[in-house]
């Protein structure tokens, strides 16, 4: 399995802070989004504002995803 963490507005829209995806369905980060948006349709409108991290570092769509990885869904940060 691949763990997916959601934060801030993304957790709010998804109605959850954490979910899991079956590893056989994803090999790159880009493949994660359609599965997430299908499970949590309220997330879909946020797509263009989101960034993603794999194992605690910002990642892009063609970055690989492996079993045991932790993916984070990051809305625009607003610390400070």
């Amino acid at each position: 399995m691949i763990k997916v963490l959601l934060f801030g507005a993304a957790a709010d829209r998804a109605g959850t802070r954490e979910t899991e995806l079956p590893v056989e369905d994803v090999s790159t980060l880009a493949e994660v989004w359609p599965l997430l948006a299908e499970r949590h349709p309220d997330l879909a409108p946020m797509r263009d504002t989101l960034a993603f991290a794999v194992n605690g570092e910002y990642a892009r769509g063609n970055d690989g995803v492996s079993p045991g990885d932790e993916i984070a869904v990051l809305p625009p940060v607003s610390g400070g």
Binding site: A9, R13, M46, Y58, G79, G80
Partner: protein, 147 residues
């Protein structure tokens, strides 16, 4: 010193820890909860959450960036999580340097970078609902995600 904490921030102690005989200047930035008002409602408090430990590491990276760009002797960044009431500090940045120019520039850089790259989010809790800052998602009528 780079830290993300749940309790209130002791600004005086952070500055005192940066007072060093090899430095002539300490520039500090404190971010505080401001009561904003609109449409007859007001902000009651802010609530912060973070993706840890990524956020901790990003603070350290900002510190390393600063030390690579300016001649500074000590950089401290402490960010608070959870509820932060009006007037209270959510973030404290302290930069000590031999001279004031680098101290000022580095402290400004630190807050700008925090707002760009550190995975921390704030929710404004208003008298009539809440809104996630930056995403405009929440329960207030004014929030675009609700329209």
């Amino acid at each position: 010193m780079f830290a993300i904490v749940e309790e209130s921030l002791d600004v005086g102690a952070l500055i005192q820890a940066a007072q060093r005989p090899d430095c002539g200047a300490i520039a500090t930035f404190v971010g505080t909860t401001r009561i904003d008002e609109s449409e007859g409602a007001a902000v009651e408090y802010l609530e912060y959450e973070a993706y840890r430990p990524m956020a901790d590491r990003k603070l350290e990276e900002i510190g390393a960036e600063i030390e690579g760009r300016w001649d500074v002797r000590r950089v401290s960044i402490v960010h608070r999580l959870g509820r932060v009431d009006p007037g209270e500090a959510s973030v404290v940045i302290v930069v000590a340097a031999a001279r004031r120019g680098p101290a000022f520039e580095a402290s400004r850089y630190a807050i700008e970078r925090i707002k760009e790259v550190v995975p921390i989010w704030k929710r404004e809790v208003w008298s009539d609902g809440y809104v996630w800052v930056g995403s405009q998602v929440g329960t207030r009528d004014q929030v675009s995600g609700n329209r």
